[in-house]
């Protein structure tokens, strides 16, 4: 009960703090509007269709299962229209090596055992497009291969019924599901501002000290852990409400596409908020003065936002840029979102949530340890 009382008090504080509200709600919305509008051209390649323009992509393929060649050719012909070009792998070359060396964006291997896809950069939007486009083909091919091995007599039945039954969920990326600039910035600005929860979290405990209310809290018949939990839950609640409002605003007024898996979107954002708050809290215990963590937090947030694609999409990156891009937690958050929304691919959802919760745990354990050693808050 005390935890909830403290949490509710935190919510009241923040809702009455106009600066916090403006920062958490108006700031991302304004940025969405400005960047989403100003960079429309950069996303549509100049044809003003409001879609991200991707460079043409090359997929190397190798097919040792000749009967499948004809339907495969028909399939690839359709994808050529979307700028995905298929080239048969030259003899004596290794498809995986060529992909690793950036000579192709993907390599598809088809044989009697099934089909395998190797991507150059699974985390890029281009990679998502290829993966999404080929996923249904690969899955369908693998299904037919397995059935032909286990029960060849039922193959006809499955093939005939395939139009009526969804043995494989179609993950093909439809042209109208590609992110427009407003869609893009709705997502990246929201994940960025969720990370900014670290700033207010850095003041959660130190503010009680500077207001001298820490002593009054500590003299009350409650445990230090209750104060900590109350403040943590309150901060999570207020930031969640702010982010929910930003998402709702982007849907209603900018018609941003958040996909069909809104529950998973919410889960990723919630765990990201927890991670950001834990990070801010942890740093506030690491430094002695209340202002000391702020420069560190700001640098981390800015770098994470920049390399995570908050201001513009980071395409194919090499060397240090690639390293920085991979380090930024927003890269995984945003990729998980884009793949889920635009390729119906949930494969990055669990890694994103696991990363958020893992980092949260690390900083929360540190914070509770530091708090337990302190005299007072």
């Amino acid at each position: 009960m005390n935890i909830l009382k403290i949490a509710w008090k935190e919510v009241k504080h923040d809702f009455r703090d106009i600066r916090t509200l403006v920062f958490m709600i108006a700031f991302p919305i304004v940025l969405m509007l400005i960047l989403g509008t100003a960079l429309t051209g950069a996303f549509d390649g100049g044809d003003f269709d409001d879609n991200i323009a991707l460079d043409d992509m090359t997929v190397l393929y190798e097919n040792s299962n000749e009967p499948i060649q004809q339907p495969f050719d028909a399939f690839t012909k359709e994808l050529e229209k979307s700028g995905i070009h298929f080239e048969r792998l030259s003899k004596g070359t290794n498809g995986k090596d060529q992909v690793e060396e950036n000579q192709a964006d993907a390599y598809l291997s088809i044989d009697e055992d099934g089909a395998k896809l190797y991507l150059n950069d699974q985390n890029s939007i281009g990679g998502s497009v290829i993966q999404g486009s080929l996923a249904s083909f690969v899955d369908q091919y693998n299904l037919i291969t397995e059935i032909s091995k286990a029960a060849p007599e039922k193959l006809d039945t499955v093939l005939t019924a395939s139009t009526d039954h969804d043995y494989i969920k179609d993950q093909t990326l439809l042209p109208d599901q590609q992110p427009g600039s407003m869609d893009y910035y709705a997502i990246v600005m929201t994940t960025m501002i969720a990370l900014y929860a670290a700033i207010s979290a850095a003041h959660l405990i130190t503010q009680e000290r500077s207001r001298h209310t820490a002593d009054r809290l500590m003299i009350a018949p409650i445990k230090k852990s209750e104060i900590f939990m109350g403040k943590l839950i309150g901060s999570i609640a207020i930031n969640t409400v702010c982010i929910a409002l930003v998402v709702a605003f982007s849907i209603i007024f900018f018609h941003a596409n958040w996909g069909e898996h809104l529950g998973l979107v919410a889960l990723i954002l919630l765990t990201e908020i927890i991670m950001a708050i834990s990070f801010g809290l942890g740093l506030s215990f690491l430094f002695k003065t209340p202002t000391a963590p702020m420069p560190v937090i700001m640098i981390v947030l800015q770098l994470a936002a920049f390399f995570g694609g908050a201001y513009f999409p980071i395409g194919d990156a090499d060397g240090l840029l690639k390293l920085m891009t991979n380090i930024s937690p927003l890269t995984l958050e945003n990729d998980a979102m884009f793949q889920m929304i635009y390729a119906n691919d949930l494969s990055l959802v669990i890694p994103a949530i696991a990363m958020n919760l893992g980092i949260s745990l690390l900083f929360l354990v540190f914070s509770t340890f530091a708090l337990s050693r302190r005299e007072g808050l």
Partner: protein, 312 residues
Amino acid sequence: MNILEIKHLTKKFGDFIAVDDMSLTVGEGEIFGFLGSNGAGKSTTINMISGLLRKNNGSIKMLGKETNKHPIFIKKHIGLVPQELAIYEDLTAYENVSFFAGLYGLRGEKLRSRTIEALEFVGLAEKHKSYPKSFSGGMKRRLNIACAIAHQPKLIIMDEPTVGIDPQSRKYILQSVQKLNEMGCTIIYTSHYMEEVEEICTKIAIIDHGKIIADGTKEQLKSLITDSKLIYIDVKDTDHVDIDAIKAIPGVANVTLAENTIQIHTELGANNLNQIISYFIENKIEIRTLDEKEPNLETVFLTLTGRTLRDA
């Protein structure tokens, strides 16, 4: 019955001993004054009593229980009015009191009535919907008190509750302290204002360098210095006053200078008033007024510590 018993209490910060083997008792129903200069150890002692600081040695018993063994029980019966304002500027007066009282287990109608009672007690009931940022310094001080009393504690610790407020608010707070005491609360009161302590406290401890150097009722403390008196001499100009020269006059124990007033602490029966006046005449220092006072707490403090409370 003693509400608080402190025995051999010690607190160190590195090599600095803030509280040094302190022992004292506070009886139920007392207004216990804690007198001491800045850094004397008052706040450190108060913080150890209220559980904000860990002690290095000794024991603190409240209501017969060790504070470190029964922290929750002890905290339920303590109300703290910190020296600094400890209120939330963005919560209304009502929300401030209600929030803190709620942490003491008060719920529902009981919480509401106790919150209103506390606000009425400090004269802020009509302002219960207002935010403290619109309050005067005195009103904020009163709200600071309300936050500490709504749960009706047995022991209220007030650490310099009248710092920086107007005389009217100070009077209100002093009356409130006495009223709380009449309602059955025991109060530990620290102040820089000697006259406040003298006015309201039933028992006083003088603390210096982390040690209690004297304690007892006002009368008991004054009886410690029945052999001395204070002479106040108000002069036009203190530029030419040589304190060492005055100290050299037989019977003069101590001399302090506060603005244009020279306080001379001298032994009773020394019959040195003529010599003192002669000093001023010989040095052509114009005397405006001269006042001789009976021992008071100021004299006691000066005698025992060698300095005035405000100088310290």
